[in-house]
């Protein structure tokens, strides 16, 4: 079906499925088929932040004090996160928007992607502070084999869905030969690709960020790179919300609360969905090995990080009905929760409302002398 930016059919959006129904026409939010997406939009907007609000200038000094193996860990994680958010800043828009059929989900996806672009901009903010010219860091993202391997695995599900959608929208269902390659496009196949893609995105939001988050917060536990940690805390808060949204989509399908055909597909593709998740877990563990190849850091090593990935994976997989395949019962990094709790993220209300006047005005150098004339 050809895409139209304003569908002239007077359809009832309350009876449309989330995906592959009529294209959306009126962007209205007074009524919703799935209220949860409107609530997520509101929550996400309330989280708005700008990287420039966070003073990272002290990190430059800290960075010079890190050992070479720690520098490798820190920079590699930033590169990996830059990759993840480069993909997430565009892909949900390009893959999902052309096939979404309800306005609240359309706007949620746009809001979600927009926040990923804030994350991308914050990596530039962090790197520009550490290096006069961060070009070599960015350039390495498309050269580093470890990162490229992950990029290929994440983008393939998106690319597959996007290409099939393009064929469907231009040529419709049927067997099409493009540049000598034959493609069979059926609605069932399209929906299957969508299901697998959503599971791959869910796995990304669920665990792919957590190895790097753990390293960042392990530095912060030692009072190092705290500006960076503050930014990553804001990012982690957003990612938690994005994860909630993909869990909702997957569960709405599986429980037959949306498109009944998607419930069948969920059942049919359960094994593949599990495979996608377990693959992501394996890749994260390999990433931990790559990070610590030159030596570990205080408070963290490869083994404990791998256990943490398994622990998180158990929770995330059970949330979408995939059970708990790993035998890790208690949290190997309990201090992580302090950094992931929103109590420790929010700034004073006046700061979050009017932040512009604070830019660059925070003195991060405080010594004991500054409290000399304080009396209690």
């Amino acid at each position: 079906m050809k895409y139209t930016t304003f569908n002239q059919i007077n359809n009832n959006p309350l009876t449309e499925p989330m995906f592959f129904g009529n294209p959306v026409n009126v962007a209205r939010y007074d009524q919703q088929k799935h209220q949860i997406f409107e609530k997520l939009i509101e929550k996400q907007i309330s989280f708005f932040w700008r990287p420039e609000e966070v003073d990272v200038s002290k990190d430059r000094v800290d960075f010079q004090k890190l050992s070479d193996s720690e520098k490798h860990i820190f920079i590699s994680n930033l590169k990996y996160q830059t990759l993840l958010d480069s993909i997430q800043g565009r892909s949900p828009n390009i893959a999902f928007l052309p096939i979404i059929s309800i306005p609240e989900l359309e706007t949620w996806v746009e809001t979600w992607s927009f926040f990923e672009t804030i994350h991308s901009r914050s990596y530039t903010h962090i790197l520009r502070n550490l290096f006069g010219d961060p070009s070599s860091i960015f350039n390495d993202i498309v050269e580093n084999e470890e990162i490229k391997k992950r990029a290929a695995d994440i983008s393939k599900y998106y690319d597959d869905l996007i290409f099939a959608t393009q064929l469907w929208q231009t040529l419709g269902e049927g067997v099409h030969t493009v540049k000598g390659v034959t493609h069979t496009i059926t609605m069932r196949e399209l929906k299957k690709k969508l299901y697998l893609c959503m599971n791959s995105v869910n796995a990304l939001e669920a665990i792919r960020f957590y190895v790097s988050f753990a390293c960042t917060f392990a530095f912060a536990e030692r009072e190092l790179m705290e500006g960076n940690s503050k930014i990553i805390r804001l990012i982690a808060r957003d990612e938690n919300l994005h994860l909630t949204s993909t869990q909702h989509v997957i569960n709405l399908w599986a429980k037959g609360k949306d498109d009944p055909e998607m419930a069948e597909i969920a059942e049919e593709c359960k094994e593949e969905a599990t495979e996608i998740f377990l693959n992501a877990v394996e890749q994260e563990k390999e990433w931990a090995a790559f990070l610590f190849q030159h030596g570990s850091m205080i408070g963290l090593n490869k083994e404990i990080l791998c256990q943490y990935v398994e622990f998180i994976a158990n929770h995330r997989m059970s949330a979408i009905g995939l059970g708990q395949p790993f035998d890790v019962k208690s949290n190997p990094l309990p201090w992580m929760n302090n950094y992931l709790s929103s109590d420790n993220v929010q700034v004073a209300p006046q700061e979050s409302e009017i932040s512009s006047y604070l830019v660059g005005q925070i003195d991060s150098e405080v010594s004991a002398d500054d409290f000399g004339d304080f009396d209690l």
Partner: protein, 81 residues
């Protein structure tokens, strides 16, 4: 009273969320956001009723609750994953 399967039965603390009550009794429970949007503390409700002061945004199944933002309305029995 809050009966936590495989652990013990504890007294709910007035004005505290269920999560805070569980923590006061040193029972390990996973949490992240503590505001109902991440779902990390998802727990099975086996018996009893709870209420929410803020709308939980995270996905929870019909037999599940989010201890971080819920308050027991009666004696309850729960099972922590």
């Amino acid at each position: 009273m809050v009966d936590i399967k495989h652990h013990k039965t504890v007294q709910h603390q007035p004005n505290k969320s269920l999560l805070e009550t569980i923590e006061v009794h040193n029972i390990e429970i996973q949490y992240h956001c503590r505001e109902g949007y991440c779902g990390a503390c998802r727990t099975k409700l086996l018996k009893g009723e709870v209420e929410y002061k803020t709308d939980p945004l995270a996905f929870i199944d019909d037999n599940e609750i989010l201890p971080c933002c819920c308050f027991p309305l009666s004696s309850i029995e729960i099972e922590i994953d």
